[in-house]
């Protein structure tokens, strides 16, 4: 009964404050709010008067009345998520002034209401760094998944694809990476339900799949068309309300809900085609044969191919052609929404969607079926009840496309490497493998890399993932007193995932398994959430406003996994469906994990004279995942804002319509650990007594009762500036320090253990963010005028490891099992995950230069320099090239990122384009390891062949054929395979036409719109791979920015329509 007491106490304290409104010369403002585009009235719009605390909500007819507005010229603001508008009005004492507001999408984002977690705030009252993503594109253009909405949309939010395969994994970083071993993905909150997007925790398990398997994207089940608004919480003031899970930033997603009014039926549909943006330019069969001859003669041998053989060779097989295709995508979505008015109102929004995408690599596909019902019911004047329910089913067909080289290559990597000599299939239907089958086409095999057949992987492997997900919550709220609302919600997130894979014997992994390999894995995830909050939102007199939220919430999450596998099947016909027929069954496995979180949270927003803003936020989290002695943590933050524009000395400055400076400081955490990491663990072992087997148990993991969250403290200073009511500027500077990083340390083996996860080490992220929104040309009320809105965001982040708990360096796990290349390095003083290798100083031009270099001992190649060799830079200047000359040669973290959205409108036409870019990051293009290798064990880049060193072409970019570009051995690399990953791209370009409202209304239609969209229309980059937006191992913090057989990004053109009646 604690709650009633607390409530009663709150009521007792707050009751006297109610009704203490200022009296004086006031009048009334009444009016209507309309949609600028459709002319329809808008309900649920918050209407305020600048400089006062007066607020009202519009009804179903879009009408509102504001009483007790101080007399004089006033600005009336109207806002709804994603929309805003203002109007000027003169209020006379004791009289009623009327005004009509037309709302347009909030391009100038200093108005409106934003979701801040456990409530909403007027943007002008926000003291933290909160980016509202422009979700206009969601309704108007084809968007396959959430990441495409976030890409380039908000300053400081960086989106990377781990694989461009349909349904493939994505990785999002808000203000840089602040963990080494932990998950750095932001927390997603969908209609109040927090979802920790850890691809590893969500996956149905690897189950022994080939390393070339692709991580999937657990957020793919969310239908982006259902999204109403997205807010990204970035600074400590904003994220502290999510406590131990806020340190990586929080993405708050609110889905569409019904509005009062007659039923609206919308149909949104599009269809389009995708194709690979760019291909590698590789050698034809004849050219490669000539190159192989040169390799041989350069090594003192005889040509491999005779002139007669050369003459029979043509272009050979183009393996890229063989696996790439033009692929269609389509989507159709229907939505019905509406609602009634009154105290017992009903509001509903129900939608169903179908999205179907084929991938540009044969065999890949993604399908999503989604259903959503958001309902709200008023029960009398004080009670409300509602649900948000979403059901979805995702089917993804993967192909082993990404990762590794040689015989572990995926289809894409193999298509680049494969010699053009072999056909896709022999006449008897057998898929040839490079290495094994070259002799059959008369090509010597001695030097050839063993490879898979790319087409057999793409067409023969079955690798299906399914995700059936139910995400929903039900809530009830009760207005205890005017302004005091209690809310209870209960929700659940249930996901049933599987991944079934079969490698038939027509593929190399299947043949060598032997005779087929089948793997089935499932993961069932059930997360349950309860939230109980009290919100008090009240004017304390006319000059100050108080918004208080307090609450208690808990969440549990249980994940169960099973996996079965087998190899050696009599026939491939059953695929993965009959594992019992495997001659060699694999070891089955099953696991169950649970975590729980229990939290108390609170936030106080106080504004005085609408000028001085103060926010205190705190959350106390108790998490099962932390050690016994560290279960509870407190995450406080404080922020202050000052509306300078409301001060008398700026009121007269007409240019400045709004100016707010903000500062915040606080803490948030990153739980980052899987359950049970802090516990002592036992495992089993067999023994026997007198020949009778027994099972024993023994300790393999030591408890760490102190294991706890990674703790991030962040200072943020910024300002929001509005100019001439048509431009807005938001600027933030931040300094984020993360301590107690989760690191694995070696234990003394005398303890009986080897390693433990501990909290040690620090990382800092510093940066600036700038957003500019500009109504270059305002249309006002006239659709005939040309409108032009423009929005730019810019972010610069500096990431630095400041401490590794006593160590100086940590090396990530090796990049490739084939090459044993060391992973990226975490070194104190450097950004996370830098590339370490040799610097090169060109190619030895001639024997004179070789002689001059004669004094240098090269322990990498163990040979003296010869003309046509790659020169490695002697970094430490000791005339010896050895591992001590390896140095930091690149950084996968961009120096800055950029997004620039432009929208032009004229009559019903609109042209919208998004330019987006990333600058200053390097990519380790491991495809070049083979494609620029000297021994022609695989196909070669045309560039490598044409720009090679020969005595006639001494000033060459690449060494002579026969010399490995990358360096000798397979444990290091040099900067010749490191490339500048900077790019600027026209991400989307949409031309649309909306039919005139009057013309439509006559036909009973509210809105009709047609559009054509191109995505990835143009890219400006020096990167030579398929696409600079790549990170083959991209979902972790280490080994980012590596391209090894990555699935190529696609360019697409779609045609679509939106129709509402």
């Amino acid at each position: 009964m604690r709650w009633t007491r607390v409530l009663a106490l709150c009521a007792a304290l707050l009751c006297p404050l109610a009704g203490a409104h200022a009296q004086g010369g006031t009048g009334t403002v009444a009016g209507t709010v309309l949609d600028e585009q459709t002319g329809r009235p808008l309900s649920d719009v918050v209407v305020t008067v600048t400089g006062t605390a007066r607020r009202a909500l519009t009804d179903a007819a879009g009408r509102f009345t504001l009483t007790q507005v101080p007399a004089g010229p006033r600005t009336v603001n109207a806002s709804r998520p994603g929309y805003s508008g203002t109007a000027a009005v003169t209020v006379a004492a004791g009289q009623e002034a009327t005004v009509t507001l037309r709302l347009r999408p909030a391009g100038v984002q200093l108005q409106g209401v934003v979701a801040v977690g456990y409530g909403t705030l007027r943007r002008r009252d926000v003291t933290g760094a909160v980016s509202s993503v422009n979700t206009e594109a969601l309704r108007n253009t084809p968007v396959a998944s959430l990441d495409q909405v976030l890409q380039g949309a908000a300053a400081g939010v960086q989106v990377t694809s781990a694989s461009s395969t349909p349904g493939g994994g994505i990785s999002i970083r808000v203000r840089g990476t602040s963990s080494i071993t932990g998950n750095s993905e932001p927390l997603y909150v969908i209609d109040g339900f927090p979802i920790e997007n850890d691809p590893e925790a969500a996956s149905p398990g690897n189950g022994g799949r080939a390393t070339a398997s692709v991580p999937s994207n657990p957020m793919a089940s969310l239908n982006p068309n259902d999204i109403e608004s997205i807010e990204v919480l970035k600074d400590a003031s904003a994220t502290a309300i999510y406590g131990s899970r806020g340190a990586n930033g929080v993405v708050i997603i609110t889905t569409r809900r019904g509005r009062a009014g007659r039923p609206q039926v919308s149909i949104d549909s599009y269809t389009g085609m995708q194709s690979v943006i760019r291909r590698y330019d590789l050698l034809t069969a004849r050219e490669l044969a000539m190159a192989m001859n040169e390799v041989s003669t350069n090594g003192g041998g005889t040509p491999i191919f005779s002139q007669a053989q050369l003459d029979t060779l043509g272009t050979g097989t183009d393996w890229q052609d063989a696996i790439f295709r033009s692929a269609p995508l389509r989507s159709v979505q229907g939505t019905v929404s509406g609602g009634s008015t009154g105290t017992s109102f009903t509001r509903y929004a129900v939608s169903g969607g179908f999205f179907d995408q084929q991938g540009v690599v044969t065999g890949t596909a993604f399908k999503r079926y989604s259903l959503r019902a958001n309902l709200e019911q008023g029960i009398g004047p004080r009670f409300r009840f509602g649900t948000n329910l979403a059901a979805s089913r995702v089917n993804t067909s993967f192909v082993p496309t990404d990762g590794e080289s040689n015989r572990r290559a995926g289809a894409v990597g193999a298509a680049l490497q494969a010699y053009p000599f072999l056909p896709v299939q022999f006449a008897n239907g057998v898929y040839p493998f490079q290495g094994r089958d070259l002799a059959a086409v008369g090509v010597p095999t001695a030097n050839a890399a063993e490879l898979v057949n790319p087409v057999s992987l793409a067409t023969q492997v079955q690798d299906d993932e399914g995700d059936t997900r139910l995400l929903g919550n039900a809530y009830t709220s009760y207005e205890v007193l005017p302004g005091l609302t209690a809310r209870v919600s209960v929700g659940g997130d249930f996901a049933d995932r599987y991944r079934n894979t079969y490698y038939p014997r027509t593929t190399r992994p299947g043949l060598e398994a032997p005779n087929g390999q089948a793997i089935r894995g499932t993961a069932n995830v059930l997360s349950v959430l309860n939230e109980n909050t009290l919100t008090y939102d009240h004017d304390l007199g006319s000059h100050s406003h108080l918004n208080v939220v307090g609450g208690f919430t808990w969440q549990t999450n249980v994940t169960e996994r099973t996996s079965v596998s087998g190899v050696d099947f009599v026939t491939d016909v059953n695929g993965f469906n009959a594992i019992s027929s495997a001659r060699v069954p694999g070891t089955p496995s099953s696991t169950r994990e649970r975590w729980a979180l229990e939290s108390f949270l609170g936030r106080v927003n106080y504004s005085l004279f609408d000028r001085y803003l103060l926010t205190f936020t705190g959350r106390t989290d108790g998490s099962s995942r932390f050690g016994k002695g560290s279960k509870w943590g407190f995450f406080p933050s404080v922020a202050a804002g000052w509306h300078l524009s409301e001060e008398p000395f700026l009121r007269g400055v007409g240019a400045v319509s709004d100016l707010k400076v903000r500062a915040s400081y606080g803490a948030a955490g990153n739980p980052s650990i899987r359950p049970y990491q802090s516990l002592a663990r036992l495992t089993s072992a067999g023994y026997s007594f007198g020949g009778n087997p027994v099972t024993g148990y023994f300790p393999i993991g030591v408890a760490n009762d102190e294991l706890t969250w990674e703790s991030t403290r962040q200072l943020d200073v910024g300002f929001d500036l509005g100019l001439f009511s048509r431009a807005s500027v938001t600027f933030d500077w931040y300094h984020k320090t993360t301590d107690h990083l989760l690191l694995t340390v070696d234990l003394p083996s005398e303890s009986g253990f080897a390693r433990a996860l501990v909290n040690a080490g620090s990382i800092e992220n510093r940066g600036i963010e700038l957003s500019l929104n500009l109504d270059v040309l305002q249309r006002g009320d006239s659709p005939r005028r040309l409108g032009w809105r423009s929005g730019v965001n810019f972010a610069r982040n500096r990431n630095r490891v400041t401490d590794l708990g006593g160590d100086n360096e940590i090396t990530a796990s090796s990049i490739s099992d084939d090459f044993k290349l060391p992973g990226t390095v975490v070194r104190v003083g450097q950004p996370v995950g830098v590339f370490i290798g040799y610097r090169t100083g060109g190619v030895v031009r001639d024997s004179a230069q070789a002689l001059a270099l004669g004094g240098i001992v090269n322990r990498v190649t163990s040979a003296a320099y010869r003309p046509g060799d790659v020169i490695l830079v002697d970094v430490d200047g000791n005339d010896t090239i050895d591992t001590r000359d390896r140095t930091v040669i690149g950084d996968p973290n961009p120096s800055f990122t950029l997004g620039w959205q432009n929208t032009f409108s004229f009559h019903g036409f609109e042209l919208a384009g998004l330019l987006q870019g990333s600058f200053g990051n390097e990519i380790l293009n491991l495809n070049r390891w083979r494609l620029t290798g000297g021994d022609a064990a695989t196909n070669l880049l045309r560039d490598r062949y044409e720009q090679r060193w020969t005595p006639q072409h001494p000033d060459a970019k690449y060494p002579r054929l026969g010399v490995n570009t990358v360096g000798a051995g397979t444990t290091d690399y040099n900067d010749l395979i490191l490339e500048d990953g900077s790019y600027l791209r026209l991400k989307t370009l949409t031309l649309s036409y909306a039919f005139p409202a009057r013309w439509l209304q006559a036909r009973g239609v509210s809105m009709a719109r047609l559009y054509v969209t191109g995505s990835n229309v143009a890219t400006w980059t020096d990167y030579t791979g398929f696409d600079p937006e790549v990170s083959s191992f991209g979902v972790g913090n280490l080994n980012r920015g590596i391209d090894i057989g990555a699935y190529p990004a696609a360019r697409s053109f779609t045609f679509g329509l939106n129709f509402t009646y």
């Binding site: 009633t4 109980n532 036992l682 007198g690 030591v702 003394p748 083996s749 303890s751």
Partner: protein, 541 residues
């Protein structure tokens, strides 16, 4: 107001009911693994933990980087047998296996770290039982005390290995339960010996003299007493235990004999017969069985590579022969000594049918070839043995060891008495060898006794530790007789009249061994030194 309170109550009830967060809400309950609190709840759990402690001899913990070969799966045998004049290997002068053979083990040598971490891990397994089992409520007290006593025997055994390999080592006498104070400095040898002795005395007082049925193979009071005798001998000779230790050694050896539980088998080879396990001579052994993960892991180290087909050996599947006799030692057995054929596999029939008999005319030699007789003890001689699932038990203490230990103790206490002679001659007689030369001085008797131990216990993992107790004798023998890897098989005596035999390769230089006293112990492994800065390296390394 009534209405309001009703609504409040409703909300509050909803909040409280759905919350229901008791103390257990944040407690992590492991579902798919076992935590100590789940295991130590019953007698069955206690026995499972104890079985886990026994299984530590087999050292398979991939999660901790401890592999099959780190302890009794290979490294233990190599580290105890190579640095003697009895056993050598087949590889060249730079191979890591050669290093213990030629006394060039450095702190970074992989094998010593293997034994170090496997033995300490085994200690922690025993500590877990010793710390947790006494607290199990409702368990049969007699069983509880026996389980703890068995674990104390095991802990003592592993510490005895550690103190003999490395000298004083850190003493961890409680389970590692947290990361606090996890690094400990080295204790002195005397401290380690005293801890071992305390454990064994406590164990001997509780353990039964004999087990039957499904308990055969557990530590007995006889095992504890026999180990006490061996521990006191080592303590007296190497660990600074002095004369008092030899008196104790004598007493405990006599207690084993007086128990009447053990006897010498008539046939030496039958002691090691895998169809005659847990026989009357066995006092304590590692119970291997043909269950994957619960058996031995030595076959591929023992099996020869018959030429020309390397897979023609009838028993073990993989052939990676690693142990051969040093030739001077091999030829030192008396002609009638049954221990030569009992220790070394002298003849076998290949799968293809031909019989291979080791004699000095055999010429099939290559770098990985059939270079010498291979060990006969502990080789699984039933075809189909898999790595980690080999049947033969590894005998750690047997009755002949107690007899010779008593003789050694008597000689230390009172010189070569008739009883001491009688003990040695009993062992010799079983091996079909005549009595020892009478009238030896105390030191000469001691040397003869240790030479006897070489013949009796070759390939049983005692070699290095015996050398420690009679170091000057051992040094002289090793410097004189031990050849080294690269020359071992090349330098074998070329039988007269064998024109096809491979001549000795004089281009391979012989390494002259000069044994410095620091070779008495191995160095502390470098990986351990790196992680625990409190460890101090042994002198000379």
């Amino acid at each position: 107001m009534k209405h309001r309170i009703k609504a409040l109550a409703l909300l509050a009830a909803a909040g409280v009911a759905t919350a229901g967060c008791g103390d257990d809400f944040l407690t992590e309950v492991p579902y798919s693994f076992v935590a100590p609190e789940n295991l130590y709840t019953s007698g069955d759990g206690a026995l499972a933990a104890l079985s886990g402690a026994y299984a530590a001899f087999q050292a398979r913990v991939s999660d901790l980087g401890i592999s099959d070969v780190d302890y009794y799966g290979r490294q233990y045998w190599m580290l105890t047998e190579y640095p003697t004049e009895t056993v050598t290997l087949r590889l060249g002068a730079t191979n890591e296996r050669t290093m213990p053979d030629i006394f060039r083990v450095t702190p970074s040598h992989n094998y010593i770290n293997g034994v170090w971490r496997a033995a300490f891990h085994a200690v922690n397994r025993a500590n877990s039982v010793i710390d947790n089992v006494p607290g199990i409520a409702g368990m049969d007290p007699a069983l509880r005390d026996r389980v703890v006593a068995e674990a104390r025997f095991l802990r003592a055994y592993h510490y005895f290995n550690l103190v003999r390999f490395f000298g004083g080592v850190p003493l961890y006498l409680h389970e590692t339960r947290s990361l606090e104070e996890i690094q400990k400095p080295r204790a002195t040898q005397a401290e380690v010996y005293n801890a071992i002795i305390q454990d064994l005395k406590d164990a001997a007082a509780v353990l039964p003299a004999k087990y039957t049925g499904k308990d055969v193979g557990r530590a007995t009071s006889g095992a504890a007493n026999a180990l006490l005798a061996k521990v006191y001998l080592q303590f007296g000779a190497v660990g600074g235990g002095g004369a008092a230790a030899f008196t104790q050694a004598e007493a405990y050896a006599r207690a084993v004999i007086a128990s009447g539980q053990y006897s010498l088998l008539a046939d030496y080879a039958s002691v090691f017969d895998q169809n005659n396990e847990n026989n009357a001579e066995v006092i304590f052994d590692i119970q291997n069985t043909r269950t994957p993960g619960a058996g031995g892991y030595m076959c591929d180290q023992f099996a020869p590579r018959p030429l020309p087909s390397q897979t023609d050996f009838p028993y073990c599947d993989s052939q990676n022969p690693s142990f051969g006799p040093e030739w001077p030692f091999f030829y030192s057995y008396a002609p009638t000594d049954t221990r030569k054929a009992g220790t070394w596999l002298m003849t076998y029939t290949k799968k293809s049918g031909a019989t291979v008999t080791w004699d000095s005319t055999q010429t099939a030699v290559n770098a990985y070839g059939n270079f010498a007789p291979v060990p006969n003890k502990y080789m699984d001689k039933v075809p189909g043995a898999q790595d980690g699932a080999e049947e033969p038990n590894f005998i750690l203490i047997r009755y002949a060891d107690v007899l010779l230990s008593l003789a050694e103790a008597i000689n230390e206490n009172a010189g070569p008495t008739a009883e001491a002679y009688n003990l040695v001659n009993t062992v010799r007689a079983r091996a079909k060898v005549g009595p020892l030369t009478p009238g030896l001085s105390k030191q000469a008797f001691k040397d003869a006794l240790f030479t006897e131990r070489r013949w009796e216990f070759a390939m049983e993992g005692h070699g290095m530790f015996d050398s420690q107790r009679n170091w000057s004798w051992a040094k002289a023998r090793i410097e004189q007789y031990s050849t080294n890897a690269a020359r071992t098989f090349w330098n074998r005596p070329r039988p007269s009249g064998c024109s096809s035999c491979i001549p000795r390769d004089s281009s391979v230089p012989k390494v002259t061994l000069v044994l410095d006293d620091h070779y008495l112990f191995y160095p502390i492994p470098q990986p351990a030194m790196d992680v625990n800065p409190q460890l101090v390296q042994n002198p000379g390394y």
